[in-house]
Point group: D2
Chain length 327, copies 4
């Protein structure tokens, strides 16, 4: 029985998925993609690093791009509710025998760096520098008018373990895919802290790897406009999947790849999940509308490609199953 | 100094604004308005009562319409996180010397009925019957394709008292209007539990009275379509204000009146507020873009009319100020 | 040199593509598709025939569905400017040695039935019964809120001949695809009378056959909503291609198949073409963005399948070329 | 009986309303408004003049702004079908005893300058320099993403005379407002050449004066975005009326004023009018939904203010009637 009762009083209070730090090989190319094409706002830039945010975000950054020799992911950032929660998190991770360190992170307060059970790096912090809110500076909205980071989606070699871990620190399941076996196995999970479908999701696959970061737009037309822009300014090959609608989460989506292959999901239209008695929605692995309510099946790359975490070995999952792939 | 530090560990855990019960004089006329025109789904109906929900709502009802001799409001409903929270709520309200009772409420579990400091009736409950989720039954979406209840907005004769009360039970301030006095007075407050701009708001005025219930749609075009429909099927006079955009909350809005004068706000486009360090946004009472970022000023009715709570006396506020009214 | 100077004073004045008559094998199934799902308005129905129109159309019908033993197309209808034009059309077709007859057509005035050079049946008429305009009866808009028929798209075994014929009767070229040979060959043409990209288009392929009828919606969101509806009420398999955007015509499109396999294109977003000096836009057959500015390549069925005209033999084209097909 | 039978074979063939030339007092301020805020593309600029076009326009300009000592209108431009039509137009205007001249107009071919019966300057031409089409250069779309000029709307001191004149040169009536007298008087007319609701409209009022130029956007959301932009970058006072929907023409509209008070209507959603048997739609002057299907009544300025034509005296109309004005 893979699904557990939600934990409403977790060991520490995670507010939400907050940011990702990505290694990129050509910062100018990344800037052209994220800023000039997608319309991200620049909070700060140096010769080595670019700090980006969406139009409603007051947190200093939700994407950090850092020049690197390879396109690996540096860390996944989560905001905690209080410094007490941060202390409790340190205690909890130490208790699990997981590594803890406290790197100096620009524009952030005290930051705990640790890992999940598969070695994926996680940063937990409370305070980040606050920037001007640009939500009502409409003349500055460009490209896809991205409002905010929404979630982080990862491949894991063992969904049950990843689920159990994030479950234990208070993430609540909203939707999941499992096999139709008498003793079903989890194929994918969507888990949240902030009250919509997810802050983090895991899918069975070679991992740990980042599958994508999900960013929210106010209108499906913003996403269609981004299709038009990308298709006509040299980014056609960067459009990997969509637009379409997922059965899971009900998201209207577009998946794109940045110049390093990092995947971004532009999406809109999920739903509120704050009710404690909200029953998670089960999807059979065999149901094709699970992944694609409508739209063309995902290409092979979408199922197979992802970004490794810097220095973290990737393992093959035990569970092998055939998703519906576009030919 | 009217603004307080948020309380992150309140005496009991309110999940969100959940529903309203409205007295209506002609249930058939109300059904025509809410179901045939707005597109609300009917969860249950009797000769006396209509239980309605939006397309994403699994809770049995977010609007209850009950035949009554006058168009008063019966109660405002809030969902709590657990039965323990309900026990704590009972203890807390008793400690404040406020009345507590436990009416049998159809389709709901144990329900505490009490009042706020101005006598507005409040229902707190944990369990409600769950209905089929219709979010992906798109062929059943009609009218404005309303997804869910979002918030409750009330007149209060004393904003500071209302703010203090809801603050104490854990509602967090996101935006507020105050006078420009050296010792400023609160004119209006927006407070949330579920992570967006508000679950409840209070504005200075004769109260306690319900100003409106706010309901969320996925697209501004759903709201424009409702304008087209209302204007051409006999509800032109029921369109009171908008469409327009509020400075406060950034909502794209339309205010409509039901056949009894109960006010509904269709809205979309606010933002995420889960960060504990999110600074509330202050608006000066003198700033006209506070209420109307753009669009025609609200009519006098919008500032003056509201629905009394059944049997609850209405008082005139101490604070008198002149909002910007359409001529 | 395949492209000709437009003829501004044609032998008779065609106003626009007006309607199609389709043979269907199960009228109830067709009604469920066109009326209940797509939202077409019914102007008239008998046990054998269904007359449909879009929400802005005052003409009695733009689609006629007639019970038939096979799913063939009966005729393509074009509106002429005046009875004099109809006389001139009769004279012109007789002069070309093409058959002319004057069938009694319900709800239409005098109607000339003839054929194009490949035998495709064409009806020309001036008067049609007028119906109530429903454009501002917004509460009656359903499904995709289709406003009007826009164009007819056919396979032809010889694009140059089809182009020459419609050119001679005043259709003006707006866009075309040709091979990159030194002496290029036409692969497809888009031609108009009414002032947007097309009233009729021809593509190289086994023909004459109807490829699709194109119908116009006011918003891309109407098309996305139709995707949602079709995917969740049993018509997922009827969604053949899209949504996406064509390079040609700039249309945002969705191609669907009715229960008999007749293809309908829902589209929006083309442009005005009334200027006599508007240069036709040339696309190379090798340019993949010609057909798909973005979106998944069309499936094989989209390139190969079409509806024959009742009793009209189909021929294989001389020109063989490989379009970009989805695998 | 004020309504006449359409003339399908006019003395010369006007293709459409093409452009306006406006005198502006501060070209930099106009540039900030039209280019930086509205998103118009600049085809050419000099120290004295700015030539603008929308994203689908291949004609060199649809708005010409010229530095002037006062904010008058220089001319209204119409495109003709051929040089023969231009010869016929010259002959016709001379026959009416109206002045004809042939000014050198930059970027245009031979241009006839004449006047309408009330002295409004009219330019007729066939050829204009062609520019790169930017419709599919999506990354260059800004602001309201205006696609094209649609129509010109004028005050006239005598609607019947204006109607008769444009009727005689082939403009066809689509909608009109008249009094409810037994012998009704025309209050306003909408007349087209290009196949939608209008190329030119006249309303009773002090004239001849330009009321507004109407420009077309693909989506209502482009118009709402322009509201957001204007309200937050210093142009709030330039938003005069709307958004709303007209009964007449069914347009979803926003009326804005440029820095000189010239009025621009952003609109979308009218309908096709090419059918010769399309009955004009009559509206009673007393019907408030004629002008405002929904939305706030127009302010007094909208009914009274307009731009005079340079050097052309303005007369008071004979017909006095009270439109519904916002208080």
């Amino acid at each position: 029985m893979p699904i557990r009762t939600p934990i409403f009083h977790p060991p520490f209070n995670v507010v939400r998925a907050s940011h990702v730090e990505l290694g990129v090989r050509d910062l100018a190319a990344s800037r052209a993609f994220y800023v000039d094409c997608l319309g991200y706002l620049v909070s700060e830039e140096t010769t080595e690093t670019l700090y980006l945010r969406g139009v409603e975000e007051r947190n200093h950054h939700s994407i950090v791009l850092r020049t690197a020799s390879e396109a690996a992911v540096d860390t996944l950032g989560f905001k905690l509710a209080s410094e007490d929660d941060l202390d409790r998190a340190v205690f909890w991770f130490k208790g699990k025998g997981l590594p803890t360190s406290f790197p100096q992170v620009p524009f952030q307060g005290r930051t705990l760096r640790t890992v999940d059970p598969h070695g994926a790096p996680l940063d937990f912090y409370v305070r980040m520098d606050q920037c001007e809110r640009m939500l009502q500076r409409y003349a500055a909205h460009r490209g896809a008018r991205i409002q905010r980071i929404d979630h982080i989606n990862c491949f894991t070699p063992d969904v049950q373990t990843s689920y159990d871990f994030f479950h234990e620190i208070g993430f609540r399941l909203t939707e999941y895919t499992e096999t139709d076996d008498p003793d079903p196995l989890l194929w994918a999970v969507w888990m949240h802290r902030k009250g919509n479908v997810h802050d983090i999701a895991f899918t069975n696959g070679r991992g740990p790897r980042l599958h994508h970061i999900g960013v929210w737009t106010a209108s499906a037309l913003d996403i269609l406009h981004m299709c038009d822009v990308m298709a006509t300014c040299g980014y056609l090959a960067n459009m990997e999947r969509g637009p379409g609608r997922h059965g899971l989460s009900n998201a209207f989506f577009l998946y794109i790849r940045d110049p390093d292959g990092h995947r971004v999901e532009l999406f809109t239209s999920d739903y509120l999940t704050v009710d404690p008695d909200l029953e998670p929605i089960r999807w059979s692995l065999k149901d094709p509308q699970r992944a694609t309510l409508w739209g063309h099946p995902a290409p092979k790359s979408w199922f197979e490609e992802g970004a490794a975490f810097a220095g973290v070995p990737v393992r093959t999952p035990a569970l092998a199953a055939q998703p519906i792939v576009a030919h």
